[in-house]
């Protein structure tokens, strides 16, 4: 007797529909799973057998073959457990085949028949398409966000009874609301002084310009970076789904709703290449660059990251996505993040002009750790100075709040969207003249920067994009003028120098 059950499997951040075909035939009792299952998937045989017998149902002592179609797609994880168990029940005539045609089954089974939550419920349910998803209670909230009328039950027996109409589907306990793990309590107003740094963050949030912060320990680099996501507007529906999907696929989705706030990821510099970029298991888990998509990737102590890791970031920085290819599978995952990096100015870290005692050779060596092509990606190169201690101790807050900045940033982003890009940084070189024309004095200013060698041609292009972002933030019309350029220059610094003044 043959049964076909619908389910799905995860690869990268995408779910793919899977048909679980179960054939029960006479012969020596055996149980085989074919169709490229990985180790955790092959174990579902043992879990399904135990769950069926402990639930008081009958395990058929026959020759059982399970095929996971399409057979060329690698299946990973335990989300297929429930589908396998249901398939066995249907194929052994304990459940009518017509009862399951409208449903897709996702869930991990315990040996006692309990249904356990699964990783990547959001993309998995999404992949089921038009059928009603049956999911474990722990994944029900995620299923509700994207699925068509999902249902849940606490155990295998509960699923069978509900399918037969003997019992209702479980409902969600309204008191059982998980706490949101991303709580935004920080605000830009917490940062004392540092008006230039605050403005730099605002421009970065609005224009998508990557930021490199250089400053002595305790200057507030981390504090500033953590507040950057609070300056960004809420994610739109498409981005929210995208971000939630990635976090779900990484097993880190604990929200009541789709993720609406831009994420902040801050991997330690000991992170492996796979952890940064993605890959690892045969399901190709998303890495930090994907988790930071539509948000901020903060790399503290940039110089401590292995050079290879940093240079590997260059491709996702350019294309906004990451291509992970392995012998068994390959996946494309989104990686459109705003890169914020922090580094000490020199080995001794004092940073204040004239107090640093590092030799010229030590400074050169320190600076060489960051490759030129990587540094080139940073439009904003900011020296972060510790705020004046007198002002810190008086404790009076000043400057704009995150909400005020967010309003300006939303407006600037809307103007970028009207130019056909997400952020001004993505504007093509050919489009700069059209979207950011220059006034006559502004042209003179740029010419001078080029003549005295402060800026390269490429640097001037980036500068113009930043000036355009600044103009958008000021919500002024008309061509870019020299004050916009001068402010961009103030935030960017020259092309030649990064770090300590010497």
């Amino acid at each position: 007797m043959l049964a076909v059950v619908r389910s799905s499997t995860l690869l990268g951040v995408d779910g793919f529909p899977v048909h679980v075909e179960v054939h029960v035939a006479n012969g020596l009792p055996s149980f085989t799973i074919v169709g490229l299952p990985d180790a955790s998937c092959r174990e579902s045989r043992d879990r399904a057998r135990a769950a069926i017998s402990t639930s008081g149902l009958k395990w058929p002592d026959k020759r059982i073959t399970v095929n996971l179609a399409p057979t060329n797609l690698r299946k990973a994880g335990s989300a297929l457990d429930l589908a396998v168990a249901i398939g066995v029940l249907v194929a052994s005539d304990q459940l009518g085949p017509d009862l399951i045609t409208d449903f897709g089954f996702l869930g991990e089974l315990g040996l006692n028949g309990a249904l356990r939550p699964i990783v990547g419920a959001l993309p998995l349910v999404h992949a089921l398409g038009e059928v009603r998803p049956v999911v474990p209670p722990g994944s029900f909230r995620e299923a509700l966000l994207v699925g068509r009328d999902p249902v849940t039950a606490g155990s295998l027996l509960g699923v069978v009874d509900a399918l037969k109409g003997k019992a209702p589907w479980d409902t969600l306990d309204p008191n059982d609301t998980p706490e949101s793990l991303i709580v935004e309590t920080s605000d830009l107003i917490d940062v004392q002084g540092q008006p230039v740094a605050k403005r730099a963050l605002e421009v970065a949030a609005a224009g998508g310009h990557h930021v490199l912060m250089t400053g002595p320990p305790g200057a507030g680099k981390t504090m500033l970076a953590e507040r950057l996501p609070t300056l960004m507007p809420d994610l739109d529906d498409r981005s929210a789904f995208e971000v939630s999907r990635i976090h779900s696929a990484a097993g880190r989705f604990h929200e009541l709703d789709l993720i609406r706030r831009p994420p902040l990821r801050a991997p330690h510099h000991s992170a492996s290449l796979v952890a940064l970029l993605g890959g690892g298991t045969s399901a190709l888990r998303p890495g930090e660059v994907s988790m930071a998509s539509d948000g901020v990737l903060f790399l503290d102590e940039l110089g401590e990251f292995p050079t290879g890791h940093l240079d590997a970031l260059r491709q996702p920085l350019e294309s906004g996505e990451i291509h992970i290819a392995r012998a068994s599978a390959s996946a494309v995952m989104p990686a459109r993040f705003l890169l914020v990096a922090a580094t000490n100015p020199c080995p001794c870290g004092v940073g204040k002009w004239g107090d640093c005692r590092c030799s010229a050779a030590a400074l050169t060596r320190y600076a060489r750790r960051l490759s030129g092509p990587l540094l080139d990606r940073f439009d904003i190169r900011l020296a972060v100075d510790p705020p004046d201690h007198r002002k810190v101790l008086t404790g009076d807050h000043n400057g704009p709040t995150s909400a005020e900045v967010r309003t300006r940033v939303s407006r600037a982003r809307a103007m970028a969207l009207s130019r056909g890009v997400h952020t001004n940084r993505e504007l093509a070189a050919s489009a700069i003249d059209r979207h950011a024309p220059l006034t006559l004095p502004a042209k003179g200013y740029l010419r001078r920067l080029l003549e005295d060698g402060t800026m390269s041609m490429r640097g001037v292009q980036r500068l113009r994009l930043m000036a355009l972002t600044i103009r958008d933030l000021e919500s002024e019309e008309g061509p870019v003028d020299e004050v916009d350029l001068a402010e961009a220059m103030l935030l960017r610094g020259g092309d030649r120098q990064v770090g300590v003044a010497s």
Partner: protein
Amino acid sequence: MMSSSHSVELPHEAYLTALASLDRVGPATIRWLLSNGTPRSVWALVRSGRLAPGPGIRVTAEMVDRWARQSQSISPEGIWVRCVERGFGVLSLGAAGYPHALAEDTEPPVLLFQAGDPRRLSATRVAIVGTRRASGYGRQVARSLARELTMHGVTVVSGLALGIDVAAHSGALEAIEDLGGGTESPPCGPLAVVGSSLDSPCPRPNLNVAKRVVANGLIYSEVPPGTPSAPWRFPVRNRILAALSDIVVVVESDSNGGSMHTVREALDRNRIVMAVPGPINCRSSAGTNALLRDGAAPCLGVEDILDELGLDRQVVVPTDPARELRPRRAAKCADSTQTENLPFEPLGPVKHGEADPLGKPTRRSEDAHRLPTGVAGEVVDLLGWRPTSTETIASECDLSPRELARVLASLESQGWVRVTGSWVERMSR
């Protein structure tokens, strides 16, 4: 020796060069080596390893063995050919062309390599030295002093190191190059005394300046071509620098920097030492300020040096006097003001409410020293003479980044400040 048939024709400088290129052979060691005989016979001794270890100079038996091994791979002929091919002059003590100032010295170099035009030596010589970690102020002073001294016909001596040294050479080069190649070259120009060999000038970033110095001036080195540079050779060359100069001007120095070593060498030789004062809270001026306290002559401008030299203040090489008042870059902008619509000049009213923060900046020389007023004046006052971060200025003067950018761009375009990355330095006086 097997090569004795050729070596008859080789000058004794070739053997001296070979000896000097041995490991750890400095001025004192080579003098001790020569006490054992003629350069040629000493070379033969070294090669055969039969040299007797010297008591006073710490030449151990181990050292003799090392030299014996090393000398097998050195040929005096090869080294000599190399010098000739590259056009390096080789001067031994007492030979024609050997600088008089050095010949009369207490520790004259036995051997000197030169590249460039030896006529530069005929002029009065002033050394401009200072720290490698110079501030913008120090670099500007070194540059303009060197420039003006060169225009007064004085040869500027320095060590071709980073910071003050290279600024001094650049200033002298600017003055020389402004004269153009057409006329007969003047007797003054940049003179560099380097601690590395002539064919691999150290440090690397100064290679370009080194090439320009060879083209327009003169370089001396005690180190034979092809010998790797070593840290101990740099302080050793300071005595040559001091001996060659009539006056040593220290522009900026830490309290125990290499320049202070040069000062001690200069004082030992009865040379006049002058120091440029700097801010007392700045580490890079700690040494020069201490020198002033201890009685060194203050150098407040090129006039002070000329007075010490007994030269009149007449410019030998005529140029536009307005140009020295501010750094070159700003001068370039000033020149083009008439022709082109330049931004930030004059500055429009700042949002704070002050009418015209810079007055009406005209480029006439009588207005060149007038300090900016209003917000720009506040910023200049705050800067003092120490590089300050843009963040500090914005906080202290309570300026929005936009206003700050406008003020700084305007000040920079007029040469009052220089912005490097996120650091602002006051430039003009």
